[in-house]
Symmetry: C2
Subunit: 228 residues, 2 copies
DNA sequence: CGGCGGCTTGATCGGTCTCAAGTACGGTGG
DNA sequence: CCACCGTACTTGAGACCGATCAAGCCGCCG
């Protein structure tokens, strides 16, 4: 919910507010809706919204990283997705959020009223189509995530590293914004298994691990080969 | 692909062609698009389309049941979803199908040209909104499916039975259209584990199992309790 | 230097898979 | 009607992968 956090309304229409994105691809451009947002910042582990809360707002990451998650009955946490600069999250069909969302690191997000999005889509067919495209891409992402969860630990970790490399680095070196626990909860593994698998990949010469969050992909082919 | 299967074009606009649905809820009503389809029938295990084939058509089940799936590198099959009368499948954002689809039992489906759907959505904002809603519901379904895959075998099977009971029966007795292998591949388990878990549930008095495909939910509470 | 949180490593446990029989059921032919 | 067969399902015994429990390590910040 929109509590205990600073909020700055951007002077709408200044395009430089949107230029803080990384090199991320086109995903979620969202045309005219870009101009409707306010900026908010969240500290590490701060809640952005909770599961089952009214989904009155959608969000677009401008800086930092965000995770969505659910808590299972046995206390485990399943992470639904990681959202990096340029990514949109929290946009729902129904009235309530299906997952909770938290900032991972210090994060800045643009807030968009859901009612404004829906209203625009009712008038503008192009906007409605963008909405469909966005949700379709999210669907595709979740399908891939689902396919991950039936693979072996090695395959899951390898897949995860390849995905992150595509999303946050042009080079072979990447700095993960999330902890081992976050990775474990995303992959449906324990922190120990993730850690062990990483060290295996190091001894395989598939990756380098100069520090725990700093990873170098030494042999993308080997990583890919583990999967399909 | 649209090969080796009978195809009958319905005289468009005759509403009795659409009245074969079960008691299924509103899901995927699809307004005007209903009138654009032709009927096709598929025998058991017959392919409807393959992964990576052009997604020129979407489908709506009118009779029988359909599964979508992917084959993993190690030869296992992961089922993406089961589609029952009233359900729509194969509608993609991109140009290609993400999963393969097969009839489970003898099935009848209505075929809809994707181009017609997209064209309609470009003119009619309500249609575009329906498209968005449909994809959003599919997203929600896949999210739930993903959450299933990180639970214990008991929880997965219990969840599956509750889901099927909601989808294909008003009473406590249900007849599964799919085999144990299908269930296993949907839940990310082996056929043996599914079978064993079912017999456990029988000895728990949670279900009755008069025959392998005929299941009676004796204690929904117990099944629910296993999960959240 | 001490303490703390995040990460790694080790030893054991347990749930699910694997491999292998055994059983029930539906269909076919005599 | 029954005998036979093939397929789907169930059951059993053992192996294996990842979880659990428990130390140890490392980097950071006081």
């Amino acid at each position: 919910m929109l509590t205990q956090t600073q909020i700055h309304t951007t002077s709408a229409g200044l395009p430089k507010m949107n230029s803080a994105h990384r090199s991320a691809p086109v995903r979620g451009s969202f045309g005219a809706m870009e101009l409707m947002g306010s900026q908010m910042t969240f500290g590490p582990n701060e809640e952005i919204f909770g599961e089952n809360e009214p989904a009155d707002y959608a969000y677009k990451v401008t800086k930092g990283a965000v995770r969505t998650y659910k808590i299972l009955s046995d206390g485990r946490r399943q992470i639904g997705g990681f959202y990096l600069p340029g990514d949109i999250f929290g946009l729902e069909i129904g009235e309530e959020h299906q997952f909770s969302a938290e900032a991972i690191s210090h994060a800045t997000v643009m807030v968009i009223r859901r009612s404004a999005v829906v209203a625009l889509a009712e008038r503008d067919c192009d906007a409605a189509r963008e909405l469909w495209t966005f949700t379709g891409r999210e669907l595709h992402r979740v399908q891939e995530h689902m396919m991950l969860l039936v693979k072996s630990a090695q395959q899951r970790v390898a897949c995860f590293l390849l995905e992150m490399s595509e999303r946050l680095a042009a080079t072979d070196a990447l700095e993960l914004p999330m902890s081992r626990q976050d990775i474990a909860d995303y992959l449906g593994l324990t922190i120990e298994t993730v850690s062990r698998t990483m060290t295996q990949l190091v001894s395989n010469r598939a990756i380098g691990l100069p520090s725990s969050r700093h990873i170098v992909l030494r042999n993308r082919g080997a990583l890919r080969q583990l999967n399909s």
